[in-house]
């Protein structure tokens, strides 16, 4: 079957696929624990009956029963050497049974995880699937289906395996647990990755019933350039007397047919728990259904394996992080030379947190093997952040190595009009479905005028178009030259951007900081030029996202040019800054009492200073403001109106206020508030989890206790000695585990032996009141109730 014939098949009808094979064969008697494919090849009559059921029910395409017939999975049964034969035989059986239906060679997961999740290398997986593909082609399949994939990288490996061995159409369906695959891909990223890489249909199967798939299909449809397919389970499986029963019957299942089609499905079948009866019902219904056409979004879309990014002049400006380019960066050069991928990951994180949505990655350091290091950098970046990448290299081998292992849709930076580069890089972009930055340079060099650059842009686009690229697949580089050497350079770049945006209607980018090279106070030039370029229609810029001044321009211009609809991003960013105290706290006009109750540390500090300046005595501030405020926080916590972080935040605000008062109290000891009592606090021997104990210590200090904090994993003898030395009123102990709580009665025994008069207060996840009382201790269920109890104990 040709790709064109495949496209025609889906052009005007809902294509009917088959239903579940594994569950059907299990019903027919395939025993548990055997190799399913081997069993089927040895029981061809039963397999034929299963296939025939679907053919008779009306399936246009049936799948070979080769779901797990790859060498890795067959290896679990000692059968990897039979991969070719098993696949060929099962394909032949399907072909003999199919009559006029088409036969799709079925490939699924190898059962082991690919790197970075597991130990299987990408090329090992590609070669594993190739062995299966060879057998299926020899068995006469008409097309391929790659199904039930949890990891987009494994789906890519299988798709590349098919594409490198034959030209048959390939359908790829991922399996989603809720809104993402198990390895974290959302439906749009999965679709964009697979259709760019050459899948002829994309969709979802297994894991869920038809209702859950409607939303997945709806999300994919506006981005789909290929038909979408859905093969749901017959609802959720449940156990009934040792039997697996799926919750939906054929009528219920097929009732979702129309809604799936309305969501955008072009092909429907069933997965686990569905039978020929289900397919028959859909066949009756599909006669009245036609594929819907949904307007496709006109955006350029790139993605990693877990995030997609849309680029368009009407959308918020796309910031591309420039800091993974070693030019002029000594530390990064060192990191690349030493292959220090932790450093690379850290820079990726910093840029991503600062607002970069794409990251430019460049391994161009003299003496570095780019073919080896660029893929390693890309892997490190992808493991660290979700942002998709631009592969910044002119080395075709390095680019291919990185494109091959990148589990999303990357951007090649860049392809120019230079003949040799065009001939080498365009096919690469095509093979791996990458977008590319079009650099308006040719063999004659860098053209100065906008007109010359536009001519090259047109020429390169015409070449790209012949290979099947559209304008959405291209970002034109406006080619920024430094104004220090040629002052009209910026104007020419702006002309190119304006033409691309308004006339040619293609997305654009610039390497922003080039414009100011060689000049002092570069930031002013960069910021001004960015504003001018954005107003000319610039879609993206390769820039430093950690420069807050430039990022402010980006956020503001998005509002002014209506790219940030209703200024939602702007308001979210800046309103948060004001309220979380990153700006001047005096603006808020809140009282010190409110600052403590709100847990606002900065305001509490500043307002305490103001109270002192106004002449209030430290003791008065504590008695009339701070204590009532922290008691209010405690009340709110007790009433569950506050939860733990808010309780602690209140305590932290109180501590910051006390830090202002303490020097004043030191000057005048009479101002020192009387301590409530002395508490020696520790996490018991063997217990290393101390965050709960630290919360209790802070709250006790808040409430006026003198707290001696001994830390975690503290020997009993050390606790006793500290209690004696400080004449403690209370020993407070924390233990998280059943294996460490036994230390508490031991400490109590030592307290008695030493004749100490102090009380013991205990707390921790596994403790209860009975345990505490069994050795004469008092039990606190949480840090705050511990403080309340401590107050009562010192009164007694």
């Amino acid at each position: 079957m040709t790709k064109r014939e495949f496209k025609r098949l889906f052009s005007n009808k809902i294509v009917l696929l088959d239903g579940g094979m594994g569950t059907l064969l299990q019903k027919y008697g395939m025993p548990g624990g055997v190799c399913p494919e081997k069993w089927a090849s040895e029981n061809p009559d039963i397999l034929r009956k299963a296939h025939s059921g679907y053919v008779e029910a009306g399936s246009d395409i049936i799948y070979t029963f080769t779901f797990g017939a790859n060498p890795i999975k067959l290896g679990d049964f000692g059968l990897s050497g039979e991969t070719y034969e098993i696949n060929k035989r099962l394909a032949v059986i399907a072909r003999e049974t199919a009559r006029s239906a088409l036969v799709a060679g079925d490939i699924s997961s190898c059962g082991s995880l690919l790197m970075p999740f597991g130990g299987i290398e990408f090329e090992t997986a590609v070669n594993c699937f190739k062995e299966q593909v060879r057998g299926l082609v020899a068995g006469g399949v008409d097309l391929f289906v790659i199904e039930t994939m949890m990891d987009i990288q494994e789906a890519r490996a299988a798709l590349i395996a098919v594409k490198e061995l034959c030209n048959l159409p390939v359908m790829v369906t991922m399996t989603f647990e809720g809104e993402r695959t198990l390895m974290g891909s959302d439906p749009v990223s999965a679709l964009v990755t697979l259709q760019s890489l050459g899948a002829d249909a994309v969709g979802c199967n297994c894991s869920s019933g038809p209702a859950e798939m409607v939303d997945l299909i709806r999300k994919m449809k506006p981005y789909a350039k290929v038909p979408l397919i859905a093969k749901p389970n017959a609802g959720k499986p449940r156990l009934e007397s040792g039997h697996t029963v799926f919750e939906m019957d054929a009528d219920n299942f097929s009732s979702y047919c129309q809604i799936l089609v309305e969501a955008g499905v072009n092909g429907i079948g069933g997965c686990c728990g569905t039978t020929p009866e289900f397919i028959r019902k859909i066949n009756e219904l599909r006669k009245n259904l036609k594929p819907v056409s949904v307007e496709r979004k006109p955006y350029s879309v790139v993605c990693s394996n877990r995030k997609f990014v849309e680029i368009h002049p009407s959308l918020p400006f796309t910031v591309i992080g420039e800091r993974l380019n070693p030019t002029g960066k000594k530390a990064l050069k060192e990191a690349i030379l030493n292959e220090d991928m932790d450093y690379i990951a850290e820079i990726a994180r910093e840029q991503s947190e600062a607002g970069a949505v794409l990251l430019d990655v460049n391994a161009g350091v003299p003496g570095v093997d780019e073919k080896k290091v660029l893929p390693a950098m890309v892997e490190a970046v992808n493991n660290a952040v979700a942002a998709p990448v631009l592969l910044d290299s002119s080395d075709p081998e390095a680019l291919e190595a990185a494109l091959r292992i990148y589990p999303g849709r990357a951007v090649i930076n860049s392809i120019s009009g230079e003949k040799e580069k065009l001939e080498k890089l365009l096919p690469l972009a095509k093979k791996y479905g990458a977008m590319f930055v079009l650099l308006p340079v040719n063999d004659a060099g860098v053209p100065k005028s906008a007109e010359e650059r536009i001519k090259i842009i047109r020429e390169v686009y015409q070449e790209a178009k012949k290979s099947g690229f559209s304008k959405e697949d291209i970002l034109v580089d406006g080619l920024v030259m430094t104004v220090a050497s040629e002052q009209s350079a910026a104007i020419e770049t702006l002309k190119v951007i304006s033409w691309c945006s308004n006339r040619f209607r293609v997305n654009t980018t610039i390497g922003l900081s080039n414009v100011s090279f060689g000049l002092p106070a570069r930031e002013f030039i960069n910021t001004s030029f960015l504003m001018m370029a954005v107003s000319s229609g610039l879609s993206t810029a390769i820039m430093n996202p950690c420069n807050e001044n430039i990022m402010q321009v980006v956020r503001a211009s998005d509002v002014l040019l209506a790219r940030d609809k209703n200024a939602i991003n702007y308001i979210k960013f800046y309103s948060g800054k004001t309220k979380t105290g990153n700006e001047n706290p005096q603006k808020k006009e809140k009282s010190l009492y409110d600052a403590i109750v709100d847990g606002d540390r900065d305001a509490a500090r500043e307002l305490t200073r103001q109270e002192l300046i106004s002449g209030k005595l430290p003791k008065d501030i504590i008695d009339t403001i701070l204590i009532p405020a922290i008691q209010k926080v405690g009340d709110l916590y007790e009433n569950k109106e506050y939860f733990l972080p808010q309780l602690i935040r209140g305590a932290e605000a109180l501590e910051s206020a006390m830090a202002v008062l303490e020097p004043e109290i030191e000057k005048d000891k009479t101002a020192d508030p009387e301590k409530s009592g002395t508490v020696v606090i520790a996490t018991v021997k063997g217990d290393v989890h101390d965050i709960g104990k630290n919360i209790a210590a802070m709250l006790l200090r808040n409430y006026g206790f003198n707290v001696i904090d001994l830390g975690k994993d503290v020997d009993s003898q050390v606790i006793i000695e500290a209690a004696k030395e400080n004449n403690a009123d209370i020993i407070a102990l924390s233990a998280l585990m059943t294996t460490t709580m036994g230390q508490m009665p031991r400490v109590m025994e030592m307290v008695k032996q030493e004749g100490l008069s102090c009380k013991m207060l205990v707390g921790g996840a596994v403790l209860d009141k009975n345990f505490a009382e069994s050795f004469g201790a008092f039990y606190a269920s949480d840090a705050y109730s511990g403080v309340k109890l401590a107050q009562q104990l010192v009164k007694k």
Binding site: G33, A234, H243, T244, D249, E277, G686, L736, M737
Partner: protein, 224 residues
């Protein structure tokens, strides 16, 4: 015994509400401003980016269950009435663990040292929840692999330290998964370092396909 399988760089889907619940949040009662919520969401995301989750699992044959004892193929004997109940009817056990790695613990300590205990407590809760969710990924992955073989996992899993499946048995699971290889250690009180590490056991059962739909039709088809 079957080999230990390792899963790295996991970013499990997790239920953010459960992180709030761990921190004592009560729906319709706790008052939380948008800024506070944004801050918590930021800290959860920071946790997610700091965690370096590695998980490992091993499928082990169950030789015998005589409550409360479960005898595994290598002679390991686990004990627990509830665990025996969970594994009842299972021919294999899935032994699994996940660790969030040391960096998130360093982050929690750093926040505490900076006087940001309120932030540390959020990161602590998020790290626990997300690491635990990695075991959901392990179970989903194994479940998907064994389904074509006519096998299924129990819905529940048990971790040492809960009920009568006591903490010292963590040492048995530690040994079965050779967890020391992954930078995890167990102290004399059977506590794990890094702290955000968790072991669990689930069962694997052989399934028979049932169904109420067209059972008769299928039987007829096979007979033809």
């Amino acid at each position: 015994m079957r080999e230990i399988r390792v899963m790295k760089a996991l970013r499990p889907d997790y239920n953010k509400n459960l992180i709030y619940t761990r921190l004592g949040y009560r729906k319709n009662t706790t008052r939380l401003s948008q800024d506070e919520r944004d801050n918590i969401d930021y800290l959860v995301e920071l946790t997610e980016n700091t965690l370096n989750i590695v998980a490992a699992y091993r499928i082990v044959d169950i030789l015998n269950i005589s409550s409360p004892y479960i005898l595994l193929e290598d002679g390991t004997r686990l004990k627990g009435e509830k665990l025996s109940e969970l594994l009842n009817g299972c021919h294999q056990a899935l032994i699994m663990f996940a660790t969030g790695g040391p960096k998130v613990i360093e982050l929690i300590e750093k926040l505490q040292n900076e006087g940001r205990l309120s932030d540390a407590v959020v990161v602590d809760a998020a790290a626990s929840e997300i690491t635990d969710s990695a075991l959901d990924v392990v179970m989903a992955h194994v479940g998907r692999n064994i389904r074509p073989l006519g096998q299924a996992l129990t819905k529940m899993r048990f971790s040492p330290g809960y009920g009568d499946f006591d903490l010292p048995q963590q040492a048995e699971l530690f040994r079965l998964l050779d967890a020391g290889k992954f930078g995890v250690s167990l102290n004399e009180a059977f506590m794990l370092t890094p702290e955000k590490s968790v072991f669990a056991v689930a069962g694997i059962t052989k399934m028979k396909m049932g169904g109420t739909d067209d059972q008769k039709g299928i039987q007829k088809a096979v007979q033809q």
